[in-house]
Amino acid sequence: MKEIAPPKWARRLLRIFIHGEYLEEIEGDLEEVFYDDLETLSKKGARKRYTLGVLKLFRLSLLKNLKWIYKIGLIISIMRTIRLAFRNLLKFKTHSAINLIGLSLGLAVGALILLYVIDELSFDNFHKKGDRIYKVVTGSEGGMETNAWPVGYKLRTEFPEVESVLYAKNFPSNIKLNHKDKRVDQSIYYASQEFFDLFSFDLVSSNEKEALTAPFTVVITESLQDVYFEGDALGKTLTLADSIDFEITGVIENFPENSHIQFDILVSFPTIEKLQWWSYTEGWGNFNVRNYLLLKEGTDPDVLQSKVKDLYNENNGEWMEEMGVSFSVELIPLKEVYLNETYYNGFGPKGSGKRVKTVTWIAAFLLLLACINYVNLSTARSAYRAKEVGMKKVAGSSRKAIISQFMTESFLLTLISFVVGLVLMSVALPFFNDLMGKKYDIASFGAMEFVTAVLLLLMAVTIGSGFYPAWIISSLNPLNALSGKLNKSYQGLSLRKILITFQFFISSGLVIATLLVINQINYMRTKDLGFEKEQVLIINASDAPRGSRRDVLKSQLQSISGVYNVSHTNALPGRPGWLGQWAYPEKEGGEQVDTEYMAIDENFVDVLELQLIAGRNFDLERPSELEAGLIINETCVEEMGWQSPEDAIGREIVSPSQRPAGTVIGVVKDYHGLGLQDIIWPQAMDYRSYSYGRYFAIRYDTKQTYELTKGIENAWDDVYGDYELEYFFLDEDFDRQYREENQLARVLTIFAIIILIVSSIGLFGLISFVALSRTKEVGIRKTMGASIGQIIFILSKEFMILVLLGNLFVIPLIWYYGNQWLNDFAFHTTINPAIFVIAIFVTALIAFITVSIQTYKTAKMNPVSALRYE
């Protein structure tokens, strides 16, 4: 009996369809019946009956996804709604197209910006103890990311709520990694062993306890290991600065892109004791160490902040008062370090909270304008759909059903727009990366956070665009709707006016803002800087050994044809001064003057074409002046309290740090050593430190730059053949300080254009409706003798007023915020009223062209057919 079994396929069918809870019982029953049947029937008969039994089991109450079956009705009705939505979208092709263009542009831009914003906000959120980590910075004029030496020590020893303190310091920057004859720039930092207490970077090899504890040990990144060592680098030797050997005691995993800490090599902190000046407890005025804190759990950071704020005053107050400066200890939560605007990040990339905000606002506006197009067009169209809604209501449709019908339409359109938007995004991605300085690819679209955010965005857009029209249209009284008693543009007319005004408020606002930024950039580019940045080529010789070879190089460079003059200097406009340090010479009475101090040679003034307004330049014939002379700028004269440049000549400058100190022999006209964002600081230049030079500035007077660079390369190879030649042009390098502004201008230009397009096509769609609904009026006017021009004027008037109103409203706002933005620049243009005129003209012209195309069509119609309309 065992071999005879019910047919397998029937049993399988049973298992697929029957509710799991009932399966065992029913299967058992069937089998029992089957074996009972075997006693009376043939094998075939029993099996047949079994199969029949299985088939008869297909009853609603026994099937698996019972609930789903009941939903078939619902699905059918949804399908019908979608089909209807499609028909309606196709019926009004122009409007669907307008909405499609607007929404897909809006969604593409919105999604790309979401990608960017999510990425920017995700910085440093992967550290396990992240919410307890704070960066310690120095609050002062401008703000410094580094602290005085004793601050970390005080925090470590005197505050019990601090669990550990990390010291990190730049390794002398002119050291490159030397390995197998390759010299490649590496970012190298000293870091104390607490690095691994604080941050969740895993060591790939070695244990955390030993890494960074002994002097002359380093931790390197995995990528560095891959480049310079075959396989495991642990225990191998790394030579830095040609001379110092380090043992590799750890290899650290590569950093995620979204970490504000990026480096190649960490040198153990005890090494610093052997290599350069250091102190845990001394040096309250020596700001060159970076600190991070790990707080004990349950510590209130605000309380600690208020306790540590005045550490400088308590320990070094007198000195600060004497210097007329103020410093405070500030704590920044780890997650805010990256986007913080005030404090530079010397450890890796720096974001900008302002930029994140700006682009978010712009994307929000763009989406809003696209939604407004939808709302305007749908409400304008409501009269044409009143009959449909009236019919439905009469047939018993609920308001909810009608709303959902209209919402489905807007959802469907949003969805289609998103698909188009996705294509746009993929196409625009390289451009977007370039604009934002990022490296996204198509795969970035797959990230969980991004997908979630985009879904929310789609929902928001659907509701934002669809809900109001759905609400309005569904509120129609079926009686009025069916009898056609509706005023064609009866509803939402005033709202529509407000929305159009708003659209042009935003569009012109962006146009004006763009013009403003471009204006300022042009101003900065073209303003007389006080020196001549064109036709100067710079060699960066920071790494090349100093000494007499420098002079050899200089004379070789001077002999190249096309070279007018060469200066060997340690400072350049656009680059920080002498090791980035300030000097504080005293004026009469002992008060100190913040002065930028530079070491130059006798050709500096000539090469940069600075203007000497009193005294004379350094002269090799006058050794005493080379030894003790100083050249200062006008601002310095003023700050020192001297009457005039002439008065300054022959005066002594005393400085506690010995530099700059000496007799003033010349005064140069003020020039912009930094970008126009910054004021001009007092400057003092001497000759005696000239051997610290880092750059060769070459003024040339030839158009043959190829020949020139060839000659320079030869000269360099002659003298420093084993070092890489690095050169650049001064004007490009100087203008790099305006990168932020240039980027802003590019972003604004692109968005202003997109937003203008979206507003204009919206207006275009709307006007076509209005013109259509006034067809009869136009016909009558024409028969009464109105000219086409008059009719265009009558039809466009209303809209042009709205466009102008939008423009007028935005002007005071831009005036206010524009001036605020400009005030961040020490040197800036004033807002030229012409840009308002230009913006009004541009937006009005675009609006006018848009409106006229439609109204012209209506106005040209044969009045007979116009009168027959309807």
Binding site: E31, R59, L62
Partner: protein, 110 residues
């Protein structure tokens, strides 16, 4: 009101559950009904009536023994709830009321 509804076939199944007591599982109920109704029934019809009544609260059930004949699958033994018995009694009373009246008037159509 929906829950108190008891269909004609359901009523018959319910009655056989009560009659069969601890033997009241699918196949046995089927046999019992086939015997009384002199008609072939499918497993599905019995099962769907059982499940419906269980959902309405006329029946409770629990797993019983497994037999070799069932391929090692357990039976599910059904039990009528007191509520079911109450409803059955009510239905019976209603019917008896009708029948006693019919008895006095006599059946007009047969």
């Amino acid at each position: 009101m929906k829950k108190t509804k008891l269909g004609e076939f359901e009523e018959l199944v319910l009655l056989s559950v009560i009659v069969l007591r601890e033997d009241a599982y699918g196949v046995e109920i089927k046999k019992e009904l086939e015997k009384r109704m002199e008609e072939r029934l499918s497993v599905g019809s019995i099962q769907s009536a059982l499940k419906r009544m269980e959902e309405k609260g006329f029946l409770t059930s629990e797993f019983g023994e497994a037999t070799q004949k069932r391929g090692g699958k357990r039976k599910r033994i059904y039990n009528a709830t007191p509520y079911a018995e109450k409803i059955l009694n009510e239905i019976k009373a209603i019917r008896e009321g009708f029948w006693s009246e019919i008895a006095t008037q006599g059946l007009k159509t047969i």
